[in-house]
């Protein structure tokens, strides 16, 4: 009796594990298989700047550039802001308020991205339009700022964790040597917490690249490299906004559809690599400072 339930139990456990693994592989296989016809039909011309479905031109570099530009703006704003806020929450703020800060951050991180998109449409894009006197407020800058706001909680909470993981004796020893607070942070905490902070940044990087709804609503959806290329006040397109806008317009099985999937696969590969590398950074296998 108990031997057979043991078998059933093991069967359930093994079965669900196999199912989970199968799902991950299925996603990869489906995406690779469906991007194949674009690769075989277009070859290297996928890596060009021209995207024009009627003439069968599917260059994805414009979207890739848009993704990189928007993500860079977001990281450029969110990293310094996030790290300095984490210095405050971890090193200056008395520890009894930490639970409050942490729950605030969790609340912020829980706001669905579509609501950030709505705020972007209703406020941010209008502000950008008025401040810079533009025809439309839907620009790379708007999307970048919105993304920065969205990844800020991730950066703060993970950096704060990284700093908190450093044992107090390091702070005490450094303070005992007569160091100022910023010197404690710079010479004692940062060298130890560096790996985890880099991990936090990579994770935020991956999040920002894969974010769809908010970006899609405020980027303007224009398949053009800005002129000049650093002009962040023009409308553009990212991989995710392109997928969100255009995938239901392309018919399944066409080269157009396949090129979209290829773009998605590219995005997936970049984000997955970032996530997995980031996760390696969080491993604390070296018990140097226990």
């Amino acid at each position: 009796m108990s031997a057979s339930t043991n078998k059933i139990g093991k069967g359930y456990v093994v079965g669900s594990t196999l199912l989970s693994a199968f799902i991950v592989l299925l996603i990869l296989v489906v995406l690779i298989a469906n991007s194949w016809s674009a690769v075989s039909a277009n070859g290297w011309s996928l890596l060009s700047f021209k995207w024009n479905p009627p003439t069968q031109q599917f260059g994805i570099l414009t979207m890739l550039y848009g993704t990189i530009l928007v993500t860079s703006i977001a990281l450029f704003l969110a990293i310094p802001l996030g790290i300095f806020t984490a210095f405050f929450t971890s090193e200056i703020l008395p520890s009894k308020y930490r639970i409050l800060v942490k729950s605030m951050l969790e609340l912020l991180a829980g706001i669905p991205s579509i609501i950030y998109g709505l705020i972007g449409v209703a406020f941010l894009s209008i502000w950008v339009q008025n401040v810079f006197d533009l025809q439309t407020g839907r620009t790379f800058l708007t999307a970048g700022v919105l993304l920065a706001i969205m990844i800020l909680p991730t950066v703060i909470t993970l950096t704060d964790d990284a700093l908190q993981n450093v044992p107090d004796k390091y702070r005490e020893a450094a303070l005992g040597l007569g160091l100022y607070k910023y010197e404690v942070v710079k010479y004692a905490l940062l060298p130890i917490a560096k790996r985890n902070i880099v991990g936090a940044i990579l994770l935020a990087f991956g999040r920002a690249m894969g974010e769809t709804m908010a970006v899609m609503l405020v980027i303007g959806s224009l398949d053009k490299i800005p002129q000049p290329f650093y002009n962040v006040l023009s409308s553009g397109q990212t991989i995710t906004s392109k997928l969100g806008r255009e995938i239901s317009e392309s018919s399944f099985g066409s080269v157009h559809f396949s090129a979209m999937i290829f773009m998605g696969l590219l995005l997936l590969s970049i984000v997955m690599i970032l996530t997995i590398v980031a996760q390696r950074n969080f491993k604390t296998e070296d018990r140097l400072y226990d």
């Binding site: 200056i92 706001i111 579509i114």
Partner: protein
């Protein structure tokens, strides 16, 4: 002297960063609450939407979202729990542990729009289901799988080995150890993960917008293969007609309700986690 100045500069940066973040927090919640409360009313919550969402309420969107997220939880939970048990209790090989970590964290990192694209290809086109709420629930279930697995795994794996050994010494089979010893203690972690996953799933737009939802003319689906209305996609559609003040107001109302639903799940998760901590401290 210069050291002192550097220190002041550092403090100034830290204080202004936190002031900026605080202002941002107040702005975000202020906007959502202020705009949201002025948009909702009894009628708004309990009547169907009219005129492409610009008039009427969001009752079917609320029901649809809850239906999607509950179904996805029912699909995801048993699979995730089994996987977590396998990873914690059966997987002893170090290399396979690493492989499983890569798979789980990889799945966790998949951008949400990719899940939508996958669902569109595999279910809607290859399996020919068409736009169906059930497919949306399956995709959301896949999306929250890693969250539940990791949370369940951590709580099961953190149960001291001595409990397992004690139970085995009493002649328990492996499954009896799991059922009588590990699950009663570890289930809280799995439920916390489930609630966190549900909080994320209910707010997601990108995975379901191509495959599960229709914008107008939808009420409660009567079969597995019908589209459903959902709050996030409703907000998306309204945000795209933002020049119409009525549509925008309804979008704020729907956002407020969505935030309340998200918070219901995440605050329940928080409570379970706190309760577990106080129990383990005793």
């Amino acid at each position: 002297m210069t050291r002192h100045r550097y220190n002041l500069l550092f403090s100034a940066f830290a204080y202004s960063a936190v002031a900026f973040c605080g202002a941002l927090l107040i702005f975000l919640f202020g906007v959502i609450i202020w705009k949201g409360i002025s948009a909702i009313s009894f009628d708004f919550l309990f009547s169907p939407s009219r005129n492409f969402g610009a008039e009427g309420g969001i009752v079917y969107q609320i029901l649809g979202s809850i239906l999607l997220v509950l179904t996805s939880a029912l699909i995801s939970f048993p699979i995730a729990l089994g996987t977590a048990l396998f990873k914690s209790e059966y997987l002893t090989n170090h290399r396979w542990q690493k492989v499983s970590n890569i798979l789980i964290y990889g799945l966790n990192g998949v951008p949400s729009v990719i899940f939508g694209v996958f669902g569109l290809i595999f279910f809607v086109n290859i399996l020919g289901t068409g736009i169906s709420w059930f497919v949306g629930a399956i995709i959301l279930a896949i999306m929250i799988l890693p969250t539940i697995i990791l949370s369940a795994y951590q709580s099961i794996n953190s149960i001291p080995t001595i409990y397992r050994e004690g139970a085995q010494a009493l002649g328990f089979t492996k499954w009896q150890v799991i059922k009588k010893v590990l699950l009663p203690q570890g289930i809280n972690g799995a439920i916390t993960g489930l609630l966190i996953g549900m909080a994320r799933a209910i707010g997601e737009t990108a995975p379901i917008m191509f495959i599960a939802t229709a914008f107008s003319g939808v009420d409660v689906p009567s079969s597995l293969l019908e589209p459903v209305a959902a709050l996030p996609t409703h907000i998306l559609a309204l945000a795209q007609q933002a020049t119409n003040p009525n549509a925008l107001q309804n979008a704020w109302g729907a956002s407020f309700v969505l935030i309340l639903l998200v918070m219901t799940f995440s605050i329940s998760a928080l409570f379970i986690r706190i309760r577990r901590q106080t129990i383990s401290q005793r």
